[in-house]
């Protein structure tokens, strides 16, 4: 039975990875999960300098999901390179670094700092809904998507994943723009912008007013967008959005995702990732699937 998948020439032992921002750099979850059993660890977004993030409250629970507006708090690339990369190198897993920035120059500075580091892939976050500059500002305009993709590709040594926002009219337009800019892989979806109001206090539930919706509530939207994107571009896709079980992951794979990321589920089930790896293997066993690659995009 083969569970290995390939992303732009990088082989993963299985298609299950973590979603950026839900798993730190793995240290906190290493008490619960053998990181070596995952296809890849995708780190929380890292910028050129430390970012303090947003005021609290930063999260709110909603039906079947949650809103977050963490605001990309991160230690900056210097600490990250010294501390987080050596930590992850202890494990036999692929390292994907999520890169964030306020300007194109910020992104490029991080990308260049990572060029000599033992990192397998870069994921460029042009879809964070919770920061004023950068993030989603780049991800909602196809010309900006193409331009930043091209710039990053010019500076990157590793293959580049562009992480797309669902907060657009037609995600395939952004996917095609990233493809035109030279992206190697696409990942989708980031969170959907949402809002919650605390009626007892007559205030916004989040200090940031809006936040990104994630969790099982967004899954059907994400599956649909993965399917549409898989049919619009030739690039491999990392699918995510509300994946909590192997069954969820398989939906994304059948819709066209070559790999999947587990996000919010980590918060309430620290072992979600490994349980999904095991569940996919069990499904393949039960359904006589020899090679997981035959499931990718099998529903048309």
């Amino acid at each position: 039975m083969n569970t290995r998948v390939n992303l732009a020439g990088v082989e993963l032992k299985n298609p299950v990875m973590t979603a950026s921002g839900t798993f730190g750099s793995g240290e906190e979850y290493s008490e619960f999960v053998d990181l070596g059993s995952l296809g890849a660890v995708v780190t929380k977004g890292v910028a050129n300098v430390p970012w303090p993030g947003n005021p609290t409250p930063r999260i709110a629970e909603v039906y079947g999901g949650m809103l977050n507006a963490i605001g990309l708090q991160n230690p900056g690339i210097d600490v990250f390179v010294k501390r987080d990369i050596p930590f992850l190198r202890q494990y036999d897993t692929r390292i994907i670094v999520n890169v964030c920035g306020k300007t194109i120059e910020d992104y490029l500075e991080v990308v260049e700092r990572l060029s000599d580091e033992p990192v397998d892939l870069l994921e460029i976050n042009i879809s964070c809904p919770n920061v004023k500059e950068g993030g989603i500002a780049f991800g909602q305009d196809p010309r900006a998507v193409e331009a930043i993709t091209r710039e990053v590709k010019r500076h990157a040594r590793q293959p580049v994943i562009m992480k797309l926002s669902p907060n657009v009219t037609d995600i395939t337009v952004m996917a095609k723009a990233a493809e035109a800019g030279g992206a190697d892989v696409l990942s989708l979806i980031n969170t959907l912008t949402g809002m919650k109001i605390d009626i007892s206090r007559q205030r916004f539930a989040l200090a940031n007013k809006t936040g990104g919706l994630s969790g099982p509530a967004v899954k059907p939207v994400a599956v649909r967008m993965v399917y549409q994107t898989a049919n619009a571009v030739k690039l491999p896709i990392i699918g995510m959005g509300g994946i909590a079980t192997a069954e969820d992951a398989l939906e994304f794979i059948m819709a066209g995702a070559a790999a999947v990321s587990v996000g919010t589920a980590n918060f309430y089930n620290p072992r979600a990732t490994v349980e999904i790896v095991e569940g996919i293997e069990a499904y393949m066993e039960n359904h006589g699937v020899e090679d997981i690659n035959t499931l990718i995009g099998c529903v048309r």
């Binding site: 993030g53 079947g64 099982p216 919010t264 309430y268």
Partner: protein, 261 residues
């Protein structure tokens, strides 16, 4: 304050042993957690999971008492929403999924004469602390109106009560009770609402006292990964190298000077 060794957190389905309403909307639940009961330090908390799958996130609830020999521990919580309302409906024999113990807890090594100051639902975690401290303990408890748990602290030191409506003890807040009773100490351990903690921090500074505060905030992961439950810290934090300590992992107990409230 982080000195936890690895592989100490356990997630398990615990059996509810008893449930009791101590005051309006304040519930006490003993649960069977086996060996976890022996791993708990005063001031630590549990992630408690609802059975309703539409509510994803665990509720962080402080541990009020632990009984390592009996393999059980006690949480005392206020019904604040639908999740805690569900917990309050559990009866002996039901199961509840919990993860813990989480956070750092109070330091226990000081022999200084102490104030243990609790406000409202910040009172419960002080009970295990009162049991484990070996110093001279004066316990000051603040309530809006209805008292709970005050009698349980009596074996560990004199108990002073303040109520906002004046129905018991000093009319006013916990510091009013300290002043009215002419109490003195060298160290403070406190848990309660932020305005109370802010006042205690200022009091401790003015009196040049050592002071430890237990904070709370909305949490998602409970283990330091999601960065939802940060508080402003005076020092640069060890995780992101900004000024945001994680309440779930770097706390919930902080030295008063360590945090900005």
């Amino acid at each position: 304050m982080e000195n936890r060794t690895k592989h100490q957190k356990v997630k398990l389905a615990a059996e509810v042993l008893s449930q009791e309403e101590l005051a309006m909307g304040v519930f006490s639940m003993w649960i069977d957690v086996g060996e976890m009961a022996g791993m708990v330090r005063p001031g630590q908390f549990l992630s408690v999971y609802t059975k309703d799958p539409s509510k994803l996130l665990p509720r962080p609830i402080s541990i009020s008492e632990t009984d390592p020999k009996g393999g059980r521990l006690r949480i005392v919580y206020r019904v604040a929403g639908e999740g805690t309302r569900e917990f309050s409906g559990y009866r002996a024999g039901d199961s509840v999924t919990v993860m813990g113990p989480l956070g750092n807890g109070f330091p226990l090594d000081s022999k200084k004469k102490a104030f243990l100051i609790g406000g409202g639902i910040g009172i419960p975690p002080l009970l295990q602390l009162a049991r484990e401290l070996e110093c001279d303990r004066q316990i000051i408890l603040g309530y809006r109106d209805e008292l709970f748990m005050d009698g349980e602290f009596a074996p560990y030191g004199p108990v002073f009560v303040a109520t906002e409506d004046g129905s018991a003890g000093t009319r006013g807040n916990v510091l009013d009770a300290v002043r009215e009773n002419h109490l003195e100490a060298q160290i403070i351990y406190a848990c309660g609402p932020v305005p109370m903690l802010r006042a205690i921090k200022a009091y401790a500074h003015e009196m040049n006292m050592e002071c430890y505060l237990s904070l709370e905030e909305r949490m998602a992961c409970g283990i330091g990964a999601c960065l939802a439950c940060v508080c402003k810290s005076t020092e640069v934090d060890g995780h992101s190298h900004v000024h945001n300590k994680r309440i779930c992992k770097d706390g919930p107990v902080f030295r008063a000077e360590e945090v900005e409230l």
